[in-house]
Symmetry: C2
Subunit: 225 residues, 2 copies
Amino acid sequence: MKSPSQSRDRGIPEATVARLPLYLRALHGMAERGVATVSSEDLAVAAGVNSAKLRKDLSHLGSYGTRGVGYEVEYLVYQISRELGLTQDWAVAIVGVGNLGRALANYGGFVSRGFRVAALFDADPEVVGDTIAGLNVEHIDELEAVIKRRGVSIVVLATPAAAAQEVCDRVVAVGVTSILNFAPVVLTVPDTVDVRKVDLSIELQILAFHEQRKAGGPLMAVDGQ
Amino acid sequence: MKSPSQSRDRGIPEATVARLPLYLRALHGMAERGVATVSSEDLAVAAGVNSAKLRKDLSHLGSYGTRGVGYEVEYLVYQISRELGLTQDWAVAIVGVGNLGRALANYGGFVSRGFRVAALFDADPEVVGDTIAGLNVEHIDELEAVIKRRGVSIVVLATPAAAAQEVCDRVVAVGVTSILNFAPVVLTVPDTVDVRKVDLSIELQILAFHEQRKAGGPLMAVDGQ
DNA sequence: CCTACTTTGTGCATCGGTTCACAAAGGGAT
DNA sequence: ATCCCTTTGTGAACCGATGCACAAAGTAGG
């Protein structure tokens, strides 16, 4: 049941959640440049969205702006960070240390936002024991033990497609409920588990679709039937 | 002739376009396993979507199913491929050969779907001249010349954030209208240009948000679903 | 205190997308 | 040919997201 006068409605729309990190990035940039206060219009431009949308998004977190003035940058950074759960430290494990897994392990963008790569796993004895980004690569057999021991709560799957579901099942079995999947497969999970997927090939295909139209443009009817 | 003979409505919804690659992947899997015909229900399960949605999506391409039977796998693969523009060969350039660029260059998923990595660029003289995935890394100064010469129409940006906008401007200036951006910045482009962005850190932040709520405890809205 | 100006927060109309549910269309059996 | 069974294709209701436009709320200056 939901109380009617819940000051900060916990039901933040998914679309809004997806944009908060964008605002946060823009705000960090402004904070670095010493900007103290920002209007919805300016922040919207920096984040590449419409200002009305931005204001509505922020209004879901509470009333943190001052009419006639704007938003205080530092304060807003804090509020958004807290809402996203970035004020705590998240231990992330990366499974699969191929090209992609390696790139992810070295990616600075993680660490800077409250995420800490806490473990790397691979099945290939050739790479197990290697040190990547200052971390020892563990054998996949250690998956369950290490995840528990190090309090990993988010797992990134960068395995071959064929291995993804099995690894997924195993991490879900030890209680992981947040998965970022780079393998090109549809994962089956209990609905208590969140899966987000990133598929590089799909993004290119969407671009190709639009590119084709631009190129075909006015002559489109040529292949019509 | 217009009227209902506008059989294939060219205005395919964006949400549908984004799912077509998913269906395609599922269909390829089925084709390999020798499946000749598939129902919307089965294909929907394989692609991880609702069957009504799948049927509506496919209906935007035309009437390619047979009532009482389903869809012929090979035929549907062809139709979707054609719609997405995958029957032609797309030359892709990757700019920035750091960890991520390297991973992308080696990523098999591109080649297998009508995409061909045709050029690699970097600014660092240390890596220029290296061979990655069978390709010579060109200096960024060659950007315009090589893009034109090799007919590159899609550019993948895997540069540091600070360099992304400048590279973007340059490729747009030579006529590229499709960009896949991995750099964590909002790119400014003319609206004739399509930009899709992939931000690994944003995906993690979205997961963290939901994870926090799950862990968040008693004050959480009890969403018993 | 009052007036002029700025910018937030939001009600409302609208739009695109999802889902339901069923008539229409085809196959197969007799 | 007729009946029954399966599955598509789609009308229509629904739902969430977007964007306009403005009242409310604040600042600044006299």
